[in-house]
């Protein structure tokens, strides 16, 4: 079991790295017209929004495949408030961590 998880982590680490580099290198090497189509550009701007929003949601409200509500909801709410107040990134992360830790440790 542990060996399996370690293997998963290594495959994820090295596989991601390999494809990340190939993508970067391909951009420097393929003809421009392949990737400069407006639809490609538009979809490319939307994909990070979709994937990262989904990640925020799953990381905040799930435990394995179960939905849970715990201290992370407080952390996420505080982060949203900090972002609305235009706080810099370190403050956003720190305030989320501190509020979440407070709820976890004392409630």
């Amino acid at each position: 079991m542990t060996v399996q998880i370690m293997t998963t982590l290594w495959i994820a680490t090295l596989g991601t790295s390999l494809i990340a580099f190939l993508l970067k290198y391909s951009g420097h090497s393929v003809p421009e017209r392949w990737l400069s189509h407006p639809k490609v550009q538009r979809i490319n701007a939307l994909i990070p929004i979709a994937l990262l929003s989904a990640l925020v949601a799953v990381q905040s409200f799930s435990e394995k495949s179960q939905l849970v509500i715990d201290q992370r909801v407080v952390g996420l709410s505080v982060a949203i408030v900090a972002l609305l107040l235009k706080a810099p990134f370190p403050i956003v992360v720190l305030s989320a961590a501190i509020s979440s830790a407070a709820v976890y440790n004392w409630l």
């Binding site: 090497s29 990070p48 409200f61 799930s62 370190p90 305030s95 830790a101």
Partner: protein, 208 residues
């Protein structure tokens, strides 16, 4: 300077996130050295942390990495590099280096190249040093929940997307994808609810 501090903070957040989601310090550092693309790296540890398979982690991260290929297309005609130099240029083709280079465009080709190389290499150094610091820090913590690291990770993701939510359309897409992923979590195998949202983005992008 302010770029460096921000990069440092993201680097610490990434190193800590990787370890909090079960990666070793070495794996966290390798991701920063070899993948060297913030959003992709956060995605890998996020998908694995949510119980997803290696394949879905790689796929999610790679979809986010397509961005860098487009940056390469923009930068290649300005850099005009070959061989090993092209390999190095490719590795440091990220949001920051491309952004700074394009910002220097009115000041000529030399300023653009300088901006690209200095920013790319500078961010590379900072990003890797702070990843190591964050990973070691998280490793020393033990129960990451007691330090709020389980909330720091989604907060860091949120910080990454926030600047992209420029209009109502983008905000609606973000909320829609978040709700979709939550709704699908008990139904689909781990990792799939996240990657499925990429298809929402593609469908919406094609139609618009």
């Amino acid at each position: 300077m302010s770029v460096s501090i921000t990069v440092g903070a993201y680097g610490v957040a990434f190193g800590a996130a990787a370890v909090a989601n079960g990666f070793t310090v070495v794996q966290a550092c390798l991701l920063s050295l070899l993948t060297f693309s913030g959003a992709s790296q956060f995605a890998v540890v996020g998908v694995i942390g949510a119980g997803g398979s290696a394949i879905s982690a790689i796929a999610t991260a790679s979809l986010l990495g397509v961005r860098n290929a487009l940056y390469g297309v923009i930068m290649a005609p300005h850099l005009k590099v070959k061989g090993l130099k092209r390999v190095v240029a490719a590795q440091i083709t990220i949001d920051e280096s491309t952004g700074v280079a394009l910002g220097q465009e009115p000041r000529g080709i030399d300023a653009m190249r300088k901006g690209f190389w200095y920013t790319g290499i500078g961010v590379f150094v900072f990003w890797n040093l702070f990843t190591l610091a964050g990973a070691l820090g998280a490793q020393a913590m033990g129960d990451v929940r007691a330090f709020g690291l389980d909330s720091a990770v989604p907060a860091a993701f949120l910080g990454l997307i926030w600047p992209r939510l420029t209009g109502n359309f983008e905000r609606a897409l973000a909320v829609g994808c978040a709700l979709f992923a939550i709704a699908m979590t008990p139904i689909l195998p781990a990792g799939l609810p996240i990657i499925a949202t990429a298809f929402i983005a593609i469908a919406v992008g094609l139609k618009r």
